[in-house]
Symmetry: C3
Subunit: 203 residues, 3 copies
């Protein structure tokens, strides 16, 4: 499991950048950017751990996560103009964040001995709930309800990980790399080709 | 208490339908409908259990609740056109959901030995918080702030149950039926006659 | 610690008033006012305690907090016209609320033996999260993202308290008075002179 800890810190860092950059179209100040960076980065894991009753929360028990968030926020502020010029930066950081967090969330849930169905949901929650809280606070329609495949990619990656873990002898680190890559590829293809699930609305 | 378990599953099923149908005026996909069905169905009980520190959460400890949600979502998607043609369907499922969940929430809180005032609030939260989360996520004004009597009906029903439970020798199952019916009747009368509490606003 | 209990009740009372008054521009009824008063008053402490895993929640373990909320809501409804005529009333109650709650939140977090950085965040959360929930439910942009210094004042006060507590021999009650006054002064000056942090947005 020596792989998990740096990945979780890196995912937190990516997510904090994506959360702070989300402020770009708003008239907010630095504190607002730090706050949205913080809730985006720690929101999903916090909801997962509270739902599973797993204490202390990751970022409360280990102060390094707070520093990873701060580093991400500072980087977002310092390289702000650069990041928004590179229009795909936000997408990239966000995609890396959800891919890492989904699989790490699944693994944490399994370690707490919940059923695989619940673990898949917890993986998806870990990945998307930070963004959902961010969007709710900034009065945006949450990212999970927007057009392209997003949370569905996380759910698919979580299920893939669980299938490979439970039904094949595949080694864990390989499974980790495959499942994380799977989420990244689905998400980037969905954005590139504007893939969406079938609609569901009143005519 | 053999009554409680099927009622809770049925309430979850009703609420998942009402949550998935809430997507009808939005441009969302099936995943969005499943997600809102899920949070509507499990949100209230989740908030109640987290506030009471009661673990594992109902739907994490017992996988049948997840299947009840899935069944409700699938039913909402399959019978979608039928349900929205019958304009009162949503109201009916939602009313059944809040009535069942209020009283079951009160009973769970009492079983965890909180004071009756807290149990009444927990009953109301169990019933309305799923809808509050659903409406917040979809950028609607939460149902509890809209015109007709809604959460107040739940609170009244919770108080009725507690009064009958603590101050009369009434048998539990009878109390359950009376209190649940009381909420359903108040809510349906409120909608039919557009009953609302006194307003409270600036002139 | 005989100081803390009445202060917490008074802060709850102030916050319930400010939450109920927040309804003034909405077309809501008395229940809506009571509900927003309630979530504003207990939201921050509830989030803090759930994040720290500290059970029972303050207002569930001690019924007096519920009565403090009720008293605040009733006072807001009875003196409604008076309060909104005095345009600064809302500001005053809210400022008293955030100042008290920040420091009491820091103290509670320290008592639960978290790191000072976490305690500072918990103090700020205790103060602002009730308002954040209130604003999110009523579809307002959360108060923490609006122009003048708000959450930053809480964070600064929390850090001042921690510095004085950890690095000076200052007596606790004096520290309490200094830090609470510090938050009140920063906040009132910020509103009077429209002080804000540097902006952060796309040109």
């Amino acid at each position: 499991m020596y792989f998990q800890y740096p990945l979780e810190l890196i995912g937190t860092f990516f997510f904090a950048i994506s959360g702070a950059l989300a402020m770009q179209d708003k008239e907010h100040d630095w504190f607002g950017a730090a706050f949205t960076g913080f809730v985006t980065a720690i929101g999903g894991g916090t909801i997962r751990d509270i739902m599973l009753g797993s204490y202390p929360l990751v970022w409360i028990g280990d102060i390094h996560f707070l520093y990873a968030v701060l580093a991400g926020v500072v980087m977002a502020i310092v390289f702000f103009r650069l990041f928004i010029k590179l229009r795909r930066t936000f997408l990239l950081f966000d995609t890396l964040g959800i891919a890492f967090f989904t699989i790490l969330g699944v693994e944490k849930a399994i370690a707490l001995e919940v059923k695989p169905e619940i673990a898949a949901i917890m993986g998806m929650f870990t990945a998307v709930m930070g963004g959902v809280i961010r969007d709710t606070l900034t009065n945006e329609l949450p990212v999970i309800f927007r057009k392209e495949i997003y949370a569905t990619a996380c759910l698919a990656g979580a299920i893939l990980y669980l299938l490979l873990d439970l039904h094949t002898p595949m080694e864990r680190n390989l499974n980790l790399i495959i499942s994380i890559s799977f989420i990244i590829i689905i998400r980037l293809l969905a954005v590139k080709f504007k893939l969406a699930l079938p609609g569901f609305r009143k005519r």
